[in-house]
Amino acid sequence: MTPGRRFRIYLLEARFQVVETLREPMFAIPTLTFPLIFYLFFGVIMGARGVSLAVPTYVLATYGVFGVLGPALFGFGAGLANERDTGVLLLKQTTPMPAGAYLFAKVMAALIFGAVVVAALFLMAAHAAGVALYRWQWFALAGVLLAGVIPFCALGLAIGAWARGRSAVAVVNLVFLPMAMLSGLWLPIYMFPDVMQDIALALPAYHHAQLALKVIAMDAGQSVRMHLAVLVAETLVFLAVAALGFRRADSFSMRRSR
């Protein structure tokens, strides 16, 4: 396959993935609007414009993480499980399309939806809550937030590889909402009891949020390297778990077809 052809396939598959996701309002609406509604409530209204910008600035970073987390987890976790259940995945596997294009498309879709949420959050923070950041901070924060799709897609992939069909949505929700809360995405982590703060240390969203908060100098003061190391390690673990899941599913379907 020529590189040009390969590129076209990757691009088209990504396009179809985005279009398909858009046509599924059950997914698109909550992942796009929840972070915005949360921000409107906790950042703009509770943040009380003109009194202190500490709150709207802080939650901008954490709801940004929340906004990137949603599309990645749901697109990969629920989407993949669903496509496997309905046979769409099997159908795609029979085409000459490289498996990489399928994964690339899903990552791109998560990235694009994440970017839309981030842009909308930034606009709301700037114009409704009055948040002002240095130019480099706006770009760095956006960059850090969007980079979060990598560990979160890996986590979604792991879930999608093991969970089946409808139960995948439940599993994703069970991971998504508690992780968001325990990682301090809704309320600052230091407001929680110690035990919950210890749990946060194990969660990828916590480390990602800390990196985002570091850009605006509102993080907990732990080292960047530690956060990165945890994120890389967990991403690798998720990928391994996903690979195991696929291997099990393959042998299972082979046995069934026999």
Binding site: G50, S52, A126, W138, P188, I189
Partner: protein
């Protein structure tokens, strides 16, 4: 395959458009004002404005270059030989005028900044709290970045017990007879009064009866002022008292009268006596008949402080007395007779706004027959000469670089004076966005002392004014702790942030007021700085009675570093009113240590 190609193209287009929009959004998001700096391409401190129409204080000069060096005008004239590396601003099409001088104001902490934002770089105050004047006067001697107009002031005014001038709640020592005049003037001189202001007002022009000094006492005060080498100006509101004041030898009148139209012959007598008049048409002509409303409409609201908006919309109780037309006619006739006229607004009286009304006064003077150059001279060089204010009011060698660059050709139309490209005070660009606003609710607002150094911790935990204390979130039910110690000439703050409240904090607070948390007005002060280290530190300023205080954050690295925070950057309506400045650690939970040294509020 054709349709697939088509889709590939469309997808790529979408991708590119999406990335462009995303980048565009990020590139246009707001940034903190301080980060952009006041410059925006306009030079300051040492620079030249080239090929500009300059009004030098007397006449318009075409094609001038004005060379500013370290806050003063080094040279001004046609086609100067300027160094190649000198930053320059092309002035073509614009008009450069000296910073305006308002010949009749009353000053409060917020008014100096309000004046400066509208190009009034010097105010001639005709009575205020002498302690305030004494605290602010020294700033006029400093050439450097400031946030207020230079103040020259009569300080306390001479009036009778219960007389006009005693009703404003500022301290006034009244006079009861001519024998007290000499001692009273000496006391003013000792307080630093730049000239003597006398009230000669019995209220008859306003159908009121107000106790007034008698003519003898007015004459005695004028004489005593001259004996002390001070000029004496008189507040009058009737033609009769104006004639008397002239006969007593007053140097100037700080209002025109509106009870009677002056005859041409009498107008000539004023000219011959060489007495100057500050007509203050802004408070003679009802605001509805002046152009003030139009000026406000054409002014970016962000430039008007809360106090300016309030005084502009206020009206004299019962409305202005009749006679605006008479006042205008008197100005016309005095001008025709050659009497020196000084532009002044009597702001912030009802219907005026400090600074902005100066542009209304220029319009009124033009309406009374003055040409552009004449009106601008009344607001610059004539005012400076009348009150003996040096180095101001002219674009001339050695003068302070107090400059206003007007967008339009003012020679043609002086009513465009409010359309300003840039204002420089002492060569430094003036930030035109509002920094000042009104008083915080409730508490009486004290005035800030002139000193800027709050504490250097060389001799312990003492502040040079105000007081330091520990502050923690116990106020809101938290349990964080802080301890302070002075070690090696620095304030060492240690403590622990504990969970238990929404936004925990602990640290030290400096309260400038005499009572704890009494708000103090710091308008005109630019920044505070602390040397902090080792931990993330937050700074809190508060005039609000409730809610979390406005906060600015900065990072304190291991090594000593100077941190400068602009008061006006605080997200609050009243950044110049400070009840307390706190240096605290906030979340996350844990212990902290930081050190503070050399705290200054400027």
């Amino acid at each position: 395959m054709k349709s697939a190609r088509h889709l590939v193209g469309r997808s790529l287009t979408w991708l590119v458009v999406g990335v462009a929009i995303f980048t565009g959004v990020l590139a246009t998001l707001p940034v903190p004002q301080a980060a952009e700096g006041p410059a925006r391409g306009v030079p300051e401190e040492t620079f030249a404005i080239v090929d500009v129409t300059a009004f030098d204080g007397e006449a318009f000069r075409q094609g001038w270059d004005v060379w500013v060096e370290e806050g003063r005008i080094r040279h001004a004239g046609p086609r100067l030989d300027l160094p190649d590396d000198l930053p320059r601003l092309d002035g073509r099409g614009h008009t450069l005028i000296p910073g305006l001088i308002d010949g009749h104001v009353h000053s409060f902490p917020s008014t100096l900044g309000d004046a400066l934002r509208f190009g009034v770089t010097t105010v001639l105050d005709q009575s205020t709290d002498p302690a305030f004047a004494a605290a602010v006067r020294p700033a006029r001697e400093e050439v450097g970045r400031g946030t207020g107009a230079d103040l020259f002031s009569a300080g306390m005014t001479a009036t009778a017990p219960e007389g006009h001038g005693t009703q404003y709640g500022i301290p006034v020592e009244t006079l009861t007879g001519p024998d007290e005049a000499a001692e009273w003037v000496r006391a003013r001189k000792a307080e630093g009064s730049d000239w003597i202001k006398i009230i000669y007002e019995d209220g008859s022009a306003f159908d009121m009866e107000i106790p007034s000094l008698d003519g003898e006492t007015v004459a005695a005060v004028i004489e005593a002022a001259h004996a002390e080498g001070l000029a004496a100006v008189v507040h009058v509101s009737t033609f009769e008292t104006a004639l008397e004041a002239m006969a007593f030898g007053a140097d100037g009148l700080v209002h025109v009268w509106r009870d009677e139209v002056v005859s041409e012959a009498d107008a000539r007598r004023f000219a011959e006596a060489d007495i100057f008049v500050v007509p203050t048409l802004s408070v003679m002509v009802p605001a509805e008949d002046s152009d003030v409303a139009e000026l406000v409409r054409e002014t970016d609201e962000a430039m008007l402080s809360a106090i300016q908006r309030q005084t502009l919309s206020a009206r004299f109780p019962g409305g202005l007395a009749e006679g605006g037309d008479v006042a205008m006619e008197n100005v016309r006739r005095l001008r025709a007779a050659g009497v020196r006229l000084v532009a002044g607004t009597d702001s912030p009286n009802p219907g005026t706004g400090t600074g902005i009304s100066m542009h209304g006064e220029l319009r009124l003077l033009a309406r009374a027959g003055m040409g552009s150059a004449e009106a601008l001279a009344a607001a610059t060089s004539v005012a400076a000469d009348a009150f003996g204010v040096a180095e101001r009011g002219r674009i001339a060698e050695g003068h302070l670089a107090d400059l206003v660059l007007a967008r339009a050709d003012l020679e043609e139309d002086v009513s465009r004076s409010h359309d300003i490209v840039a204002i420089w005070k002492d060569g430094y660009l003036v930030d035109r966005a509002v920094a000042s606003a009104g008083a915080g609710p409730g508490a009486e607002i004290a005035r800030a002392p002139a000193a800027t150094l709050v504490a250097d911790f060389e001799d312990g935990f003492e502040a040079s004014f105000g007081a330091w204390d520990v502050t923690t979130d116990k106020l809101t039910g938290g349990s964080s702790t802080a301890n302070v110690a002075v070690r090696d000439g620095a304030l060492v703050v240690t403590g622990e942030i504990a969970p238990g409240t929404a936004f925990p904090w602990a640290g030290v607070i400096w309260m400038p007021g005499e009572q704890p948390m009494q708000p103090v007005d710091f308008s005109g002060r630019e920044a505070t700085r602390g040397d902090g280290r080792q931990y993330s530190v937050m700074l809190i300023s508060s005039a609000e009675p409730a809610g979390p205080p406005p906060t600015m954050t900065f990072i304190a690295p291991e090594e000593w570093t100077q941190v400068e925070i602009r008061l006006e950057d605080f997200p609050t309506a009243t950044p110049e009113v400070i009840a307390g400045l706190a240096f605290v650690a906030e979340g996350p939970v844990g212990t902290f240590t930081f050190e503070v040294d050399e705290v200054e509020v400027r």
